[in-house]
C-alpha cells in the first residue's frame, strides 16, 4: 500500500520509492498465479488452434478467395498500431522534456515491445507454410531468388525489425540502472541474476551522461522510424489497386490511428497497474488527464482523416469505390462502421471533451471504446474492400471461423500475460527517472499541466 506520505503532496523519498516500486518484484499474491494460469491457458488454446490450422490447412479458417486478408491481417495492423503507444510517445515526451512523462515512459515502452512481437507474428500465422517465413530475409539463396525490394511486404520486414530492435534497446538501456537498484536490494539467486543484468552499473557521472546522450539519440532516431513503420503498413494497402485502398492519405491516416489506439492502450495499462500494484502515488490523475487530452486531440484528428477520406471518395463517385462506400455506410458493414464512429469519435469527444468526465474512470472508458473502435477500423479497411472489388463475380463475404477467433483472443491474452510477467521481474516505473532532481538545490519545478510549468 502506498504510504500516507506518498498520498500527500510531498514527493516520496528515495527509500520509499525503492520500497513502493520494488514491492511487485518482492511480493506475489495468489491472484498473480491465478491470472497467469488463466492467461496461459488462453494462449495455449491459441497455439493449439494455430497448429490445427497448419495441420488441417487454411480451409479451417474463413479466409478464401477473394478475401485473403481477414482477422489475421486486421490483428497485424491493429497490434502494430498499438505498438505506437510506447516508444513514439515516450520519445516525443523525452525530447520535449515533459517532466510528467517519467512514471509513464516504461509502462508505454513495454507495450511497444510486446505489441510489435505479437503484431509481427500475424504475417507468419497468416502463411500457409509458416516454416518458410525466412524467405523474406535477404540471404544468398541457392534458388537464386532474392526478396523483391520493391514489395511493400519486404519493406514491412525491414521497418518492423528496425522498429523492434530500436524499441527493445530504447526499453532495455534505461532499465540497467534499475537492475542495479534491484541488485542492491536483493539476496541469493535473485541478487546474482540482477547483478548480471545490471552489467556492473555504478552510476558515475560518465555513465549517466552516456545513458542520457544515448537516450536522446535514440529518441531522435526512433520517431521517424515509428512514423515510417505505420506508413509502410499502410502501403501494404495503398499500393494495391483495390477500391478505397489506393489513397494518398493512407500513410498519415494510419499513423494517426496508430498513435490514437496506442494512447488508449497505454491509458488502460496504466489504470490497471495503478490499481493492481498500488501505484496511486506515482501514476497520478494528472497523468491520465494529460493523456486524456492527447487522446481527445487524436480523436479529432482521426475524425478529420475519416471525413476527408470518405468525402473525396464520395465526390469521386467511382462505381467500384462507391460500392464499398455504401457497404460501410448503409449496407452489410454499416452496424460495424457506425459502432466504430461512436467508439472512436463520439464517445471520446463527450467523455474527454467535458472536463468533469475526464477522470481516470472516464479516460479508461473512452480508451476501451477507442481500442474496440480501432480494431473495427482495421477490419473495415480490409474486408469490405476485398469483398467488393471491381467486378461483381469477385463479390463475396467473409465470416471468421473459430480458429481465427481463438487465435485473436489468444493474442490479447498473450499481450496481458507478457505485461504481467514483465511487471513481476522489472520495476514497471523507472526508479532512477523518478528520482531525477531529488537532490536539486533549488525549489523543484512542478509540471502540473500539459505544456504548463508552475514554480
Amino acid at each position: 500500500m502506498a504510504s500516507a506520505t506518498n498520498l500527500s503532496l510531498a514527493p516520496p523519498s528515495s527509500a520509499q520509492m525503492n520500497d513502493d516500486l520494488l514491492r511487485p518484484l518482492r511480493q506475489t499474491s495468489w491472484r498473480f498465479y491465478v491470472l497467469v494460469a488463466l492467461l496461459g491457458s488462453i494462449v495455449a488454446a491459441g497455439v493449439v488452434a494455430w497448429f490445427a490450422q497448419m495441420f488441417f490447412g487454411f480451409g479451417l479458417s474463413g479466409i478464401k478467395w477473394p478475401i485473403y486478408w481477414g482477422f489475421y491481417i486486421t490483428n497485424f495492423v491493429f497490434w502494430i498500431g498499438i505498438s505506437h503507444a510506447g516508444t513514439l510517445i515516450s520519445a516525443i515526451l523525452r525530447l520535449v522534456q515533459a517532466g510528467w512523462r517519467r512514471p509513464v515512459t516504461r509502462c508505454a515502452e513495454v507495450i511497444t515491445a510486446f505489441a510489435l512481437m505479437i503484431g509481427a507474428m500475424f504475417p507468419i500465422i497468416h502463411l500457409g507454410r509458416p516454416w518458410l517465413a525466412f524467405w523474406l530475409i535477404p540471404y544468398p539463396s541457392e534458388r537464386l531468388i532474392w526478396p523483391n525490394f520493391r514489395s511493400p511486404l519486404v519493406w514491412d520486414f525491414f521497418a518492423i525489425n528496425t522498429y523492434l530492435t530500436g524499441s527493445m534497446l530504447f526499453l532495455l538501456l534505461p532499465m540497467i540502472p534499475d537492475f542495479a537498484v534491484v541488485r542492491d536490494k536483493s539476496t541469493g539467486l535473485r541478487h546474482k541474476i540482477y547483478r548480471a543484468l545490471a552489467l556492473g552499473w555504478r552510476g558515475t557521472p560518465k555513465q549517466w551522461h552516456r545513458l542520457e546522450s544515448a537516450m536522446s539519440i535514440m529518441a531522435v532516431a526512433i520517431i521517424p522510424v515509428a512514423v515510417s513503420v505505420h506508413t509502410i503498413v499502410s502501403f501494404d494497402f495503398s499500393m494495391a489497386p483495390v477500391p478505397m485502398w489506393q489513397s494518398t492519405i493512407f500513410g498519415p491516416y494510419f499513423v494517426a490511428g496508430a498513435i490514437f489506439s496506442g494512447i488508449a492502450g497505454l491509458i488502460i495499462a496504466m489504470a490497471v497497474l495503478r490499481k493492481a500494484l498500488h501505484l496511486q502515488a506515482y501514476l497520478l490523475p494528472l497523468h491520465f488527464d494529460n493523456l486524456g487530452k492527447l487522446l481527445l486531440v487524436m480523436a479529432l484528428l482521426w475524425g478529420y482523416f475519416v471525413f476527408n477520406e470518405r468525402l473525396v471518395t464520395y465526390y469521386g463517385n467511382g462505381p467500384a469505390e462507391m460500392a464499398v462506400f455504401w457497404q460501410t455506410q448503409r449496407d452489410n458493414y454499416a452496424p460495424l462502421y457506425w459502432t466504430m464512429v461512436t467508439c472512436n469519435f463520439v464517445l471520446p469527444l463527450i467523455i474527454l471533451g467535458i472536463r468533469r468526465f475526464r477522470t481516470i474512470t472516464g479516460c479508461v472508458i473512452a480508451s476501451f471504446g477507442v481500442v474496440i473502435g480501432m480494431w473495427l477500423e482495421r477490419y473495415l479497411i480490409i474486408v469490405p474492400s476485398l469483398a467488393h472489388k471491381y467486378l461483381p463475380y469477385t463479390f463475396a463475404s467473409y465470416r471468421p471461423q473459430p480458429v481465427e477467433i481463438v487465435i485473436t483472443c489468444a493474442t490479447f491474452a498473450a499481450m496481458i500475460l507478457l505485461y504481467v510477467l514483465f511487471a513481476k521481474v522489472v520495476p514497471i516505473i523507472s526508479i532512477w527517472e523518478m528520482k531525477t532532481g531529488d537532490h536539486a538545490p533549488r525549489p523543484a519545478v512542478v509540471e502540473h499541466e500539459l505544456g504548463g510549468v508552475r514554480q
Binding site: S13, S14, A15, N18, P138, I145, W146, P147, N148, F149, R150, S151, V154, W155, F158, A159, N161, T162, T165, G166, L169, L173, P177, A180, V181, D184, K185, L199, G200, W201, R202, G203, T204, P205, K206, Q207, W208, H209, R210, L211, E212, S213, A214, I217, M218, A221, I222, P224, V225, S228, I232, W432, E433, K435, T436, G437, D438, H439, A440, P441
Partner: protein
Amino acid sequence: MKAVYGLYPDGSSAQQAVNRLRAAGLDDREITVISSQPMDEYEFGEMDKATWIWWIACGGGLAGMATAFALAWLTETWWPINVGGLPTWAWWPNMIIIFELTMLGAIVATAATLVVTAGLGRGGRLYDPEVSNGMILVGVENPPDGALGDLQRTLAAPPGAHVKTI
C-alpha cells in the same frame, strides 16, 4: 582493490567533498562519484560530459546506409526481376530500405557506444549499495598508503558524511 570514500545525504555535501579532494591536489580522473540518479544540478555531475557518441551514431547511420545501398544494388543487379514495369534499380522503393537500415545503423551504434564508453560489463570497481538508498558516494580508488589519513579527514569534513575504507 583499496579505496576510501564518503557517503553523503545530499548533493551540496557531495559537492563540498569533491571540491576538498580537488583542493588536496587530486585530479578529476582520480575522484570517483556515484549516485542513483543524474546529478546535473551540481558541478560534479558535469564530470566526463564530453562524448563522441553523436558522431559515432552518425557513423553508424552512414554504415547502415552503405549496407542498405550495397544490399539493394547487388541484389537487384545480380538477380534482376521484372516487377510491375518498375526499373530494375528503382530509387523510390529502395529509399525505404536505405532509410530503415540507416536508422538501424545509428541505433545499434549508439547502444554499442554506450556499452563500451560507459564501461558496462566491467566489475571490481568501487561501489556501495547505500547509493541505491539515495546516498552519494565520493571517493578515491587505490589511494597512496601515506595519504589515507588525509583523505579520510578530507572526506569526513562535509556535513552528513559517513566515511568508509576498504
